[in-house]
């Protein structure tokens, strides 16, 4: 917000008009706390306090969490000008709930390793510079760049920031905007688009009576986990639906399943065909919705063939089919472990076939509403962007690249040689809050303000029914006056390039105010521009007009490869995603390092999960270090043993093993993404991150595994007691 004429006092006066949220009033018998840090804050008498600022009283303001791409609405608790705690915005898609990432995002805001001023590469290393100098360097390096020789490489972006970014790219004559997310649902979206004509339809967990999920960790990391958790409760109460999870390594969703089934990585499509086979033969489900070719193919996949390829027993196939048939309507999902393979698209297509066969399309998979503000919609990330971008920079396509919200130097596999290729780009600008691996490779670093220090709008990538813009507002003064929001930086660049229509805005705040004032009268619901602005900021959400969409059903060809054994590298590497670290962005937060992994309960380090049988074969016990070697390199980490892993699998979570990224992340654990073999999904071009084969050997070293202590068994005591669903339905059923 630098360079504008609105100071904090005015801003807060304005905010006071809104009086956002539930002000919790504490008692006058509480000790009055006046924060005054020597030399840091001005002494301002409280004789005439701001309307909202009553010492000792917390006030809540609405904003938007940006810790993962889901875009949950939050209420931030402010006391004496500081943000203290975040809660979910009850009006938003996530309701009053927030996940651990959202709770910990306040640590991102106050992180001791934040970049507090611009930096430029001088004599080989990054040195602090002033904004004047930073803009001067930008002017020299960027202004003269030819059309099409610049690109943006970002994480998920949406709202008015995305709109400004588009405008800037247009002005530069470059359409090159790579949107990359290491954790994504791109293959599933491609299949949805092909079959249903809707890349992100509404998954109605609440309407389903049974869910068969092939690796879609909707309670942990899939698309919008807090929202799905809320829907999951509706699914689990009353008549209580049945959840079956098929995957190579137990995810959080898998840990909540009624039936968890271990499948060899990449064979999920075969399991889907096997289930279809049972449905058609045993249950005589009407196959009219499928083509002759599809039915013929399904007929080939009898139990013995499916078991041979996938390792899933015939009895499990029958149980799955029974659950789906007996608990209608059902919903079949495909997620990360099914999608991210060389045959990922085919897996997702076979899984979608089950939805068609069971008649779920239109019942539990509904058309999404299309939001009227097309230019504000979320640009969803994928991993193909990484591969395409690597090719482009290798070919010397760009003179200038801007990075924001993505850390490809850390998340890219070694075989891409990303860091070396990046060196071929003459000038790299990183807009970042932290000195992560990618930011440290940049020539110019522009310090971003935190999501809780800036203005902005966000459109959640998954909000199929009630389209809305989620507002971001500064919840407190910026920790450093030298940081700027993405919106402000983009606006400055647009003005610098003399793009028509932006000269009148002093800052991004005034741009946003004007943009909202210019929204259609139907959106403003009869309010004046100022009233609408206050209401939007107060509520944290703007409902956007949307029109109902429709779904078609056009199933593509279904084919599945046979299973290929690899004697040199007999095991499958599963680079699993957990909610603590996500794609590695949370590794610099101490709370999420200390919070144990949801399933293994390991903290502050990496680990490798194997099945007891596999451990016996390898001759390892918990805590032993093993060497996990692919054709691209090796990592060493400690073993954790449990029965939630396929016997042919070794699972190492992603997110740790940073070489940089601050005191909490640097040098902790290993990064399995580095040893991925080169493989892509043939149809979608996405990175096949689950297709790597490895050889695992004992190193001989051993140490205690950093796991939440105590017994993993209840030794017969009633700590967690379990009842049968039939009992639950009888006593508490609808």
């Amino acid at each position: 917000m630098s360079g504008n004429d609105i100071n904090r006092r005015d801003f807060m006066k304005f905010m006071g008009l809104g009086g956002v949220g539930a002000a919790t009033l504490s008692g006058c018998d509480m000790p009055t706390t006046i924060t005054l840090e020597e030399g840091k804050e001005k002494v301002v008498a409280y004789l005439a306090p701001e309307e909202y600022a009553i010492p000792g009283i917390g006030v809540y303001f609405a904003s938007t969490c940006q810790q993962c791409p889901s875009g949950c609405g939050v209420h931030g608790r402010i006391r004496e000008g500081r943000l203290l705690k975040l809660e979910g915005n009850p009006k938003a898609l996530n309701g009053r709930g927030l996940c651990q990432m959202g709770q910990a995002s306040v640590q991102s805001h106050y992180n001791p390793d934040r970049i507090m001023q611009p930096m430029a590469r001088k004599g080989g290393s990054l040195q602090p510079v002033s904004w004047e100098e930073a803009w001067q360097i930008m002017g020299e390096k960027v202004s003269g760049v030819d059309q099409g020789r610049s690109a943006w490489f970002t994480g998920t972006v949406s709202g008015h920031q995305s709109k400004l970014l588009d405008a800037l790219n247009q002005a530069w004559g470059s359409k090159e905007h790579y949107v990359y997310e290491a954790v994504n649902n791109a293959v599933g979206e491609a299949v949805n688009e092909a079959v249903l004509g809707d890349a992100v339809p509404a998954y109605r967990l609440d309407k389903a009576k049974s869910i068969l999920s092939f690796g879609a960790d909707f309670l942990g990391t899939w698309m919008s986990p807090v929202h799905f958790s809320r829907e999951y409760v509706k699914f689990r109460t009353g008549d209580r639906g049945v959840l079956v999870q098929v995957e190579p390594k137990m995810s959080l969703t898998g840990a909540n399943a009624d039936l968890w089934v271990a499948a060899r990585p990449g064979t999920e499509g075969v399991v889907a065909l096997g289930v279809a086979n049972v449905l058609l033969t045993k249950h005589q489900v009407n196959g009219n919705s499928l083509t002759k070719a599809a039915l013929d193919l399904i007929a080939e996949y009898n139990a013995s063939k499916v078991t041979e390829i996938s390792g899933v027993g015939g009895d499990s196939l029958v149980r799955i089919a029974n659950y789906l048939k007996d608990n209608s309507p059902s919903l079949v999902l495909s997620g990360e472990s099914a999608n991210n393979h060389a045959n990922g698209y085919q897996n997702a297509m076979a899984i979608m076939m089950l939805n068609v066969l069971l008649g779920n399309v239109g019942k539990t998979i509904e058309a999404s509403n299309s939001m009227a503000f097309k230019d504000l919609k979320a640009k969803r990330g994928n991993s193909r962007a990484l591969l395409d971008f690597a090719k482009a920079i290798d070919a010397g396509k760009y003179d200038v690249v801007f990075f924001m919200g993505a850390n490809p130097v850390y998340t890219s596999p070694s075989h891409l040689g990303f860091a070396d290729k990046l060196a071929k780009v003459p000038f790299k600008v990183a807009l970042s809050m932290f000195l992560d691996e990618t930011t440290l490779a940049a020539d110019l670093v522009l310090p971003l303000s935190s999501p809780y220090e800036e203005w902005g709008t966000t459109v959640a990538p998954y909000q199929p029914k009630n389209a809305a813009l989620s507002m971001s507002q500064p919840l407190m003064n910026p920790l450093s006056p030298e940081t700027k929001s993405l919106g402000d930086i983009l606006l400055s660049m647009l003005k610098h390039h003399g793009v028509a229509g932006y000269a009148g805005y002093d800052d991004y705040y005034s741009y946003l105010r004007a943009a909202l004032a210019g929204m259609p009268a139907s959106v403003k619901a009869g309010k004046s521009g100022d009233e609408f602005w206050s209401a939007s900021v107060q509520r944290g959400l703007i409902n956007a007009p949307s029109s109902p969409g429709s779904l078609k059903i056009k199933l593509g060809d279904i084919k599945q490869p046979g299973y290929q054994a690899n004697s040199g590298f007999p095991m499958h590497l599963v680079p699993s995603t957990n909610q603590n670290m996500y794609d590695g962005r949370n590794a610099n937060l101490s709370w999420l390092n200390e919070a144990p992994d949801q399933v293994s309960k390991v903290f502050w380090d990496s680990w490798a999960e194997v099945h007891p049988k596999t451990a016996a074969k390898l001759g390892v016990k918990e805590g032993d270090f093993v060497k996990i070697e692919s054709d691209q390199g090796a990592i060493e980490t400690q073993i954790y043993i449990h029965k939630g892993v396929h016997v042919d699998v070794i699972a190492v979570p992603i997110g740790r093993g940073h070489e940089e990224y601050g005191r909490y992340a640097k040098g902790v654990g290993v990064n399995p993404l580095k040893i991925l073999s080169p493989a892509e999904d043939a149809e979608s071009g996405e990175l096949a991150s689950y297709a790597t084969r490895v050889k695992v050997t004992k190193t001989g070293h051993s140490a205690d595994l950093s796991r939440l202590g105590g017994s993993e068994r209840q030794v017969g005591r009633r700590l967690v007691s379990t009842v049968a669903a039939s009992v639950f339905r009888r006593v508490e059923g609808a």
Binding site: K85, D258, L259, T722
Partner: protein, 281 residues
Amino acid sequence: MSLKNILENWSDYRRTAEDGGHHDYEHMWAMAIDLNKCTGCNACSVACYAENNLPTVGKKRMMKGQGMHWLRVERYWDEPDMGGDEKEYQERGGSFLPMMCQQCNAAPCEPVCPVAATYHTPDGLNAQVYNRCIGSRYCSNNCPYRLRYFNFYSYYEESWPEPLNMQLNPDLSVRDKGVMEKCTFCVQRIRVGKDAARREGREVHDGDVITACAQTCPTEAIVFGDMMDKSSKVSKIWAAHEVELGKHEQHKSDPDLRGYRVLEGLNTDPCVTYLERVREA
């Protein structure tokens, strides 16, 4: 609450389950946690770190069991003697159990404190007075749930490097070396709710106070409230599942009602009722 008062009126503050002493309490704060809804996502635990100024202690100290997680989510694997099986794979997933101080009415930690630093409030809370605590750790030794956490070091020295310290909640203290601490049912939030009600000249309504863990829970598995208010959500859940305070064994009209208290047979009379996890087979 002076020490003199406590010593003189010892029997008022030291209740046994048989007294049913809670009946004349002003409030009786309690929880109900539905394990059919709980997914084990851990949001409650991190929310507790944010609300209650819990320090992070690092890998080494965590491994020594010195983590300060007032609320931890335990995970157990199924086993045959708990209705599971010995199949090749973990077919029924995991069993998650969010564990925070159970605020026992007959708390084993209370009578062993040599300085009455832990005692029962007329709100039914098992309170810990940091200023009075001398760090004997007898209470922790006596807690059957292992839910008391001791400050072996001055964790604040390393846990909140600037500007992380700005996030600290001024509504409660940062504890120093030598002091025992544990879940308080977010007593600072209870205070705010009670004060607001008093100022408005009314009773505390159900929903006025919500703990940090319950508020953030994505599935609303944790319900918090006042057992003295018979219309509160938490009272209704306890009543529906026929779990009663002041008992070490529940006699239910239907044995299939899901409510139970962890290690109830120890006669601790905990204020947290869990509703059983549900599995298809």
